[in-house]
C-alpha cells in the first residue's frame, strides 16, 4: 500500500526551468522560458505546464498529437472540470485545426432505412436536447503508477474530468434513420485522420444494446459552452460510465454494422486480459482478451498531497471525489492508518449517477504523528475499489485504494 498519489509540489513549481538547467523534457522553442512544471512522483514524471488553444496551462505529456493532463488541484476546486482544464488525448496527428460549422455534417449510414446527413443546426433544433453529468476517464488514467512500469502515455491521475454534457440521444438519431433488422453494432468515426494512409483510422464501435441506452449522447456542448476543439468540437460521443476511448471526438460519421467490427482499434487496441480481474502477473503474456468496457469505482482525496504536514491538534477536513460506472456512489470510507480502521465519510451533493460525487471526512492530526490516509468508495451494487493494484501490460483500469502520507506538526 505504498502507492503514491501524484502531487503538484508547489515548492517545485518552478519558473524558468530552462535557466535552472532542468534539461529533461524541458521543451525548447515555443515556451521554454516561461513554463512552470509539475513533477509527478514517478520516473520521468516532470511535465511542463503549457496553454494550448482554448486551454489554460495544463501538463503537456506530448505536443503532437496533443496529450494534456489536468493538474490535480483542479479537482479540488471544481466538481465540474472547467472546459479549459479538461484533459486531452488524441491518437492521430492529423487533427482538423479549422471547422466550418455551416458545412459540417453528421452522417448516419450503413444498415439503416434512410441515410441521414444532418447539420449542427438540425441536430440542435429537430431532436430532444438532453443534459447529463458524466465522468470521462481515459482507459490509461494513472498508467504512470503501474509497477513495474508499462509503455504508453504516462498519465498521472488527471486523465479524467467531469462535465455537464448536452446534446441529443444517439438512440433518437438511430430511430430516425431506422435500424435494419440485422443491425448488430454501431461504429463511430471522427474528423481526425492518420498521418500515413496505412495507419488505421481511429474508429470505435459499441454493441447495439449499449448504444441504445438512454444516457448515450451526441454532445454539442460541455458545461454550457461549445466543446473546445481539442475535446472534439463540434460533436463528441458521450458514453457515460464507459472509458473515454469510446467517446469519439469530432464525430462526423456513424455506421450501423450487421457484423462485428473488424477494424484495428476494436480488434487489436484497447484490449483487456479476459479474466475477471483484467490483470496478469507482470511479464505474463496475454492469452485471451476482451474489449475495454466500463469504469470501475474510484475515489481520490483532493486537498492533501503526499508528504504534506498538517497543524497538529486542529480539526482538518479531508475533501475528495468518488465515481463509478453509473450505479452511483453508496458510501465512501476514510482511513488514517493505511486501511486498518475505517470511518464513514460524508457524501456531498448528488449530481447524478455518472458524475463525480464530492465527499469529506474530518480528523484531528496529532503533533508528531504520521498518517497514511486512504479513501475507499463503494457503489450501490456493493462494488469497491481494489485493495491491491492490478497489473496488465497496457496500464489500464487502475482503481486501487490510493494512499496519501501526511504528518501532524
Amino acid at each position: 500500500m505504498n502507492e503514491k498519489k501524484p502531487r503538484i509540489d508547489r515548492r517545485q513549481l518552478l519558473k524558468g526551468s530552462l535557466a535552472l538547467g532542468l534539461g529533461l523534457l524541458t521543451p525548447r522553442g515555443l515556451w521554454a522560458n516561461d513554463s512552470s512544471t509539475v513533477t509527478l512522483p514517478f520516473e520521468r514524471g516532470r511535465r511542463p505546464l503549457v496553454a494550448l488553444p482554448q486551454k489554460r496551462p495544463l501538463m503537456v505529456l506530448a505536443t503532437r498529437p496533443p496529450q494534456l493532463e489536468t493538474p490535480f488541484h483542479i479537482f479540488n476546486e471544481n466538481i465540474f472540470t472547467p472546459n479549459d482544464a479538461f484533459f486531452v488525448r488524441w491518437h492521430l496527428a492529423n487533427i482538423p485545426q479549422e471547422i466550418d460549422v455551416n458545412t459540417f455534417r453528421l452522417t448516419i449510414r450503413g444498415r439503416v432505412n434512410k441515410i441521414l446527413s444532418l447539420s449542427l443546426e438540425e441536430l440542435k433544433t429537430q431532436f430532444d436536447q438532453v443534459e447529463i453529468a458524466a465522468v470521462c476517464q481515459c482507459a490509461g488514467n494513472s498508467r504512470g503508477f503501474f509497477q513495474p512500469r508499462v509503455p504508453g502515455v504516462q498519465w498521472g491521475n488527471g486523465a479524467m474530468g467531469n462535465a455537464n454534457w448536452k446534446g441529443i440521444r444517439l438512440r433518437d438519431l438511430l430511430h430516425k434513420a431506422g435500424l435494419a433488422d440485422d443491425a448488430l453494432q454501431i461504429r463511430f468515426d471522427g474528423l481526425d485522420q492518420p498521418v500515413a494512409q496505412v495507419t488505421p483510422d481511429f474508429r470505435k464501435s459499441l454493441q447495439l444494446d449499449d448504444a441504445l441506452q438512454k444516457e448515450v449522447l451526441i454532445a454539442h456542448s460541455m458545461n454550457g459552452e461549445s466543446l473546445p476543439m481539442l475535446n472534439g468540437f463540434p460533436l463528441r460521443l458521450v458514453v457515460p460510465g464507459w472509458y473515454a476511448t469510446y467517446w469519439v471526438k469530432m464525430l462526423n460519421d456513424i455506421e450501423v454494422l450487421n457484423q462485428a467490427d473488424q477494424t484495428f482499434w476494436t480488434t487489436d487496441a484497447y484490449r483487456l486480459p479476459a479474466d475477471p480481474c483484467h490483470c496478469v502477473k507482470p511479464g505474463e503474456a496475454l492469452t485471451s482478451t476482451v474489449p475495454m468496457g466500463k469504469t470501475p469505482v474510484r475515489s481520490f482525496m483532493t486537498n492533501v498531497e503526499e508528504g504534506q504536514t498538517l497543524p497538529g491538534g486542529k480539526p482538518f477536513t479531508i475533501k475528495g471525489i468518488a465515481f463509478d460506472q453509473g450505479y452511483g456512489i453508496d458510501r465512501v470510507l476514510f482511513s488514517m492508518d493505511g486501511g486498518q480502521q475505517w470511518q464513514s465519510a460524508r457524501l456531498g451533493k448528488d449530481y447524478g449517477d455518472f458524475s463525480f460525487r464530492p465527499w469529506e471526512a474530518k480528523f484531528i492530526p496529532e503533533p508528531g504523528h504520521a498518517y497514511a490516509l486512504q479513501s475507499l468508495a463503494i457503489n450501490r451494487i456493493g462494488e469497491t475499489q481494489r485493495f491491491d493494484a492490478r497489473w496488465n501490460p497496457h496500464g489500464y483500469l487502475r482503481n486501487v485504494i490510493e494512499t496519501v502520507n501526511i504528518h501532524g506538526t
Binding site: 525548447r28 505536443t63 502515455v153
Partner: protein, 221 residues
C-alpha cells in the same frame, strides 16, 4: 472568392495569437480555428537519431519517447515492431535494429539513459557540420539525403519511399520555386502542422537550414 480569401486572411490575423476561440466569420462561413504548436523538443543527436527523426516524427513528437519510463531493450524492440506492423510506419528491415538501439540509448536502464538536454541556440552538436570547403548546395544535398529523401524522394518530387502514403502526401519540392526564402525557411524551421512535415529547427542549425535551402533551390527548374 476573393472576398472569402480576404475574410480568411483577416480571420487568421485576428486569431493568430489568440489560439482560436470559435469565430463567426459571416453568414456563409462559421469557422472554429485553432493553431496547434510545432514540436517543442527534438531527438538528442547520436547514432540513429536521423532514423528516429525520419520515422517517428512523422506521426508524433519526440516527447513520446522521453516521457516513457526507461524501457529494457526488448520493450523498445517490441514498440518499434508495433509501429511497423500495426501502424504501418515504413521502417526498412535494416533500419529496425539501429532504430531500437537509438531508443535504448535515449531511454533505457542500460546503458545509462542520456536525456536530451537543452542548449542555447547554436551550441548544438550537429553531425552534418564540418570544416570542409564544400559549397552550400553540396552540404545541403547531404543534409537532404539524410533528413528529407525518405519522404520527398531523390529528385524532390514527393516520391520517396514514404511520401505517397502520407496524408496529405509529401510535397513536391520542384514546385516551390516561387516561394520566398523566408517562407521556405519558416517551413523547415517550424514544420507544417496538419502534415507529416516536422519542425527541423532543433535538429539543424541556421547555417544548415540555409545550406538545405540552397540545395532545394537547385531542385526547381
Amino acid at each position: 472568392m476573393k472576398r472569402v480569401c480576404m475574410f480568411l486572411m483577416v480571420l487568421l490575423c485576428v486569431v493568430g495569437f489568440g489560439w482560436g476561440l470559435p469565430v463567426n466569420a459571416d453568414d456563409r462561413k462559421q469557422l472554429s480555428i485553432i493553431h496547434l504548436p510545432s514540436d517543442p523538443i527534438s531527438f538528442q543527436p547520436g547514432p540513429g537519431s536521423d532514423l528516429a527523426s525520419r520515422y517517428c516524427l512523422m506521426c508524433h513528437s519526440a516527447e513520446y519517447v522521453y516521457m516513457q519510463p526507461p524501457h529494457p531493450r526488448e520493450q523498445w524492440v517490441e514498440i518499434v515492431g508495433k509501429m511497423k506492423t500495426s501502424f504501418g510506419c515504413p521502417i526498412s528491415n535494416e533500419d529496425m535494429a539501429p532504430l531500437a538501439d537509438y531508443l535504448v540509448s535515449q531511454n533505457s536502464l542500460q546503458p545509462s539513459p542520456s536525456a536530451p538536454h537543452v542548449q542555447a541556440d547554436g551550441e548544438k552538436e550537429t553531425p552534418g557540420r564540418s570544416a570542409t570547403q564544400a559549397s552550400d548546395p553540396q552540404q545541403g544535398e547531404s543534409l537532404y539525403k539524410r533528413h528529407c529523401l525518405t519522404c520527398h524522394g531523390p529528385g524532390g518530387k514527393g516520391d520517396g519511399p514514404i511520401g505517397p502514403v502520407l496524408v496529405p502526401p509529401a510535397a513536391n519540392l520542384t514546385l516551390i520555386g516561387k516561394q520566398s526564402d523566408k517562407s521556405i525557411l519558416d517551413t523547415l524551421r517550424k514544420g507544417r502542422p496538419g502534415t507529416a512535415m516536422p519542425a527541423w529547427e532543433h535538429d539543424l542549425n541556421p547555417q544548415e537550414l540555409n545550406q538545405l535551402l540552397s540545395f532545394l533551390r537547385t531542385l526547381t527548374p
